[in-house]
Symmetry: C2
Subunit: 182 residues, 2 copies
């Protein structure tokens, strides 16, 4: 590991926003030279593949970074660095879809863009879903709709370029591997 | 789509770096209210699952955003917004691993962090690999090593938390789905 390790020499905050901040770090490289790393900081996020009787919940929403609607698995940010991921994903599933699940499995922890961001996401599988009577309100600036898709329908939406979110493509491939295993 | 569309009212650049820049957009929401979006801009990237006789190429490198080594599929940035993705992935496979492939398949285009970034990645599968005599030099600030892993070995590295990169986890699940289909 020491052959690759970079040593942080200093850090300068260039932007501090509501969702992300951005630092430029000065680092010492393994060969002793000095370089710079542009790093986006994020509190972390959660997502889940929520399955019931052969169909999973997907959320359609606007994504301003590429100015299009995007069909994605339920997901959201940790409210703070202190929020527990398992509480956050239950809250997000409730808020975004109005469903709760009684069977949960933690699947993967991962970084979404390791080259320039520390955003860590906790990904869950859940099933045995039931509709909640009182759903929590969405965030004020969140507009979305919820759809049930079969694995085959979801794969077609990847092929047609309508699903373009990496975590959602990963989740659909994961779903396929567990379907095949059954 | 108009039920979800946000209208960009203005855009302010907060940071312009070598790899990324960061804007804050003022947007009009579907309900007419005004909100802000923090957006990281990126030229785009490429990655590939490169398989030969049941083993794939993985690259180990330092990731300063989470201060650890990371085991990932070969990947890299587009040199400019003009570079063609298919040329970029051939260049990156060569630079990072010293191999070239004679059989290529474009698999997916996706966004790595659609909530806050426009980074688009083009993901390929390739096989029929051969070693190049003269490999291109790495970038000046890039230190890495190359390993061949079987699918089973790669899955174990996910389970043990040593593979934590989303695109790499997606690629390994994709690899599993095509192995099962054969």
């Amino acid at each position: 590991m020491d052959n690759y390790r970079e040593i942080e020499l200093s850090r300068q905050e260039k932007f501090k926003g509501k969702i992300i901040s951005l630092d430029v770090e000065t680092v010492k490289l393994p060969n002793g030279e000095v370089s710079f790393r542009e790093i986006v900081r994020h509190n972390g996020a959660v997502s889940c593949l929520a399955v019931n009787e052969g169909r999973a919940l997907f959320v359609t929403q606007w994504r301003e970074p590429f100015k299009s609607v995007s069909i994605e698995i339920p997901a959201g940010k940790l409210d703070s660095a202190l929020e527990k991921p398992f509480e956050a994903i239950q809250r997000e599933l409730d808020e975004e879809t109005g469903y709760q699940a009684s069977n949960w499995k933690k699947v993967y922890d991962f970084y979404t863009s390791p080259g320039f961001s520390d955003e860590k996401m906790y990904f869950y599988y859940c099933d045995e879903l039931s509709r909640l009577k009182d759903t929590r309100p969405l965030d004020d600036d969140e507009f979305l709709s919820v759809n049930w898709l079969t694995l085959s329908e979801a794969e077609k939406l990847i092929d047609s370029g309508r699903i373009v979110d990496l975590k959602t493509i990963m989740a659909i491939n994961y779903w396929k591997t567990i379907e095949v295993a059954q």
